[in-house]
C-alpha cells in the first residue's frame, strides 16, 4: 500500500528545541519539588516536623506536584508510543487465529492499543467483518479499556511494581477468560445480522503518514485534556490522603469495605457501575481507598469495574449485538472482576 502523505502547515518552532526545553523543565521540576515543599513548610512558614499541620501541608505540597508531574510526563510519553499501534494496525495480527491463542493475543495488544469507548462499535464491526473470531474480539474489548499502560505506569509510580503488576495480571485474566467463555458458548447468532452482511474492507486509515510533530501535539493535547479532567479529583483525593496522613487515620471505609464484610467486593463493583472513567481517572480514588485501608483485592475490583463496566458503552454495543450476548458479556466480566477481588483479598493479607 502506498503511504498517504498529507501537506502540513509550517510550524513556528523547531521540534528538537520544544522537546528539549520541555524535558529539561520537567527534570528540574521533578528534582526540585520535594525540597521546595519542605522549605516552604518548615522554613518559610516555620512549622515543625512534629506538628500535624506541618506534616499535612508538606505532604500536600509535595504530593500534588509529584502526581501532576508523573501524569504529564508519563501520559505524554505513553500516548506518543501507543499512537503507533492503532486498532487498524493490530487487527491483522488477530485474523485467522484460533480462539485460545487469539484471546491471549487480543488481551495483550489490548494493553497497548488506544481505546475510546465511543469507538467500540466501529471497532467491533471492523474486527468481526475482517474475520476476527467473536470471543477474540471480546477479549480485546474487555482488555483495552481496563488494562492500559497509562494506568499501569501511574500505579507503578505511586504504589510500586507489586500493585501495578497485580492489576495487569488480573485485568488480562478477566479479558482472556471472558473471551474464551464467550467464544466457547457459540453466540454468533446474537450478533446483529447486518454486521455479517458487511463486506470485509481494507483499512485506508493506516496508510496515512503522521509526522513526529503531529504525534507529539496529539500526545500533548491528550495529556492536557486528561489532566484538566483529573485535577479536581486529584486535589480532593490527595487532600483526603493528606488529612489522613497528618491526622489520625480513619478506618470508616476499612470497616465498611474491609475483610469483616464478606460482601464488600460485589458492593464496590455495584457502586462502580454508574461511575465511568478511563483507567487513569480512577487512580486518585484508588489512592484514597488504599490509604483508608481498603484491602487490595476490593480496591482492584473497584478500579476494574469502573473502567470495564460502563453503561454508556453497553448502550452503544447494543447497536451491534443482541440482548442475550450483551447479558453474557456483562455477566462474564462482572463475575470475573468479583472473583479477582476475592482472590487477591485471600492471597494478599
Amino acid at each position: 500500500m502506498t503511504a498517504i502523505v498529507l501537506p502540513r502547515p509550517n510550524r513556528r518552532l523547531p521540534l528538537p528545541l520544544v522537546v528539549g526545553t520541555a524535558a529539561v523543565a520537567w527534570l528540574a521540576a521533578w528534582m526540585l519539588e520535594a525540597p521546595t515543599a519542605d522549605w516552604i513548610t518548615f522554613t518559610v512558614l516555620g512549622l515543625t516536623h512534629e506538628s500535624h499541620l506541618g506534616e499535612t501541608l508538606a505532604f500536600l505540597l509535595e504530593d500534588l506536584p509529584k502526581v501532576l508531574l508523573l501524569l504529564t510526563g508519563i501520559v505524554t510519553l505513553v500516548t506518543l508510543i501507543r499512537g503507533f499501534f492503532p486498532p487498524e494496525r493490530v487487527r491483522p495480527l488477530l485474523v485467522g487465529r484460533g480462539l485460545v491463542p487469539g484471546s491471549f493475543a487480543a488481551a495483550g495488544v489490548g494493553v497497548i492499543t488506544p481505546f475510546c469507548s465511543c469507538s467500540a462499535v466501529p471497532l467491533f464491526i471492523g474486527f468481526v467483518e475482517a474475520g476476527v473470531p467473536l470471543g477474540v474480539t471480546f477479549a480485546f474489548l474487555i482488555a483495552s479499556p481496563m488494562v492500559n499502560e497509562v494506568a499501569l505506569v501511574m500505579l507503578w509510580g505511586l504504589f510500586g511494581p507489586g500493585i501495578a503488576l497485580a492489576y495487569m495480571a488480573a485485568g488480562l485474566t478477566v479479558a482472556i477468560v471472558g473471551g474464551l467463555v464467550i467464544g466457547k458458548l457459540g453466540l454468533e447468532r446474537y450478533v446483529e445480522d447486518y454486521v455479517w452482511a458487511l463486506q470485509g474492507r481494507p483499512s485506508t486509515a493506516i496508510a496515512i503518514r503522521l509526522t513526529w510533530a503531529d504525534r507529539l501535539s496529539d500526545a500533548w493535547a491528550y495529556t492536557r485534556s486528561l489532566v484538566r479532567k483529573l485535577l479536581p479529583y486529584l486535589v480532593i483525593g490527595i487532600g483526603l490522603g493528606a488529612l489522613i496522613h497528618g491526622y489520625a487515620p480513619t478506618d470508616l471505609v476499612a470497616t465498611l469495605g474491609g475483610r469483616a464484610n464478606p460482601f464488600a467486593v460485589p458492593i464496590v463493583v455495584l457502586l462502580a457501575v454508574p461511575m465511568y472513567s478511563n483507567a487513569a481517572g480512577t487512580i486518585p480514588i484508588v489512592q484514597a481507598l488504599l490509604g483508608k485501608g481498603l484491602p487490595l483485592g476490593t480496591t482492584l475490583s473497584f478500579m476494574m469495574a469502573v473502567t470495564a463496566i460502563s453503561l454508556p458503552e453497553f448502550v452503544i454495543l447494543r447497536r451491534v449485538i443482541k440482548l442475550p450476548l450483551l447479558a453474557v458479556f456483562i455477566g462474564v466480566v462482572s463475575t470475573g472482576i468479583i472473583a479477582i477481588g476475592y482472590l487477591f483479598n485471600v492471597l494478599v493479607s
Binding site: 502547515p9 487498524e88 466501529p122 483499512s203 485506508t204 486509515a205 452503544i316
Partner: protein, 80 residues
C-alpha cells in the same frame, strides 16, 4: 464545493473535530459542507475503525485523532 465528513458517534472528541473542521473551512476560504456521519456501517465502510475520522471529498485524511483547524485548512486548500 468540497464535502467534509466527520465520522463519529457524537462523542466529545467527534464534536471537537467537527468544530475544527468548520473553523478550517473559514480559514481556507473554500466552499465546503460539513456532514457528521454517525452510522457505524458508514464509518467502517470508509475504512475507519477508530473515531473520530475525517474524510474530505471521499478521501480519509485522519482517524483516531483530532487534527487542528490549521492542518485541516491546508488539506482543504490542497489541489490534489
Amino acid at each position: 464545493m468540497k464535502t467534509i465528513e466527520v465520522l463519529g458517534s457524537g462523542c466529545a472528541n467527534c464534536n471537537r473535530l467537527e468544530a475544527n473542521a468548520r473553523e478550517a473551512v473559514i480559514m481556507a476560504g473554500v466552499e465546503a459542507e460539513v456532514v457528521h456521519v454517525t452510522d457505524p456501517r458508514e464509518i467502517v465502510g470508509r475504512g475507519v475503525m477508530s473515531t473520530p475520522g475525517l474524510v474530505i471529498d471521499g478521501r480519509v485524511v485522519s482517524a483516531g485523532r483530532i487534527p487542528s483547524a490549521g492542518d485541516i485548512a491546508v488539506w482543504l486548500s490542497d489541489p490534489s
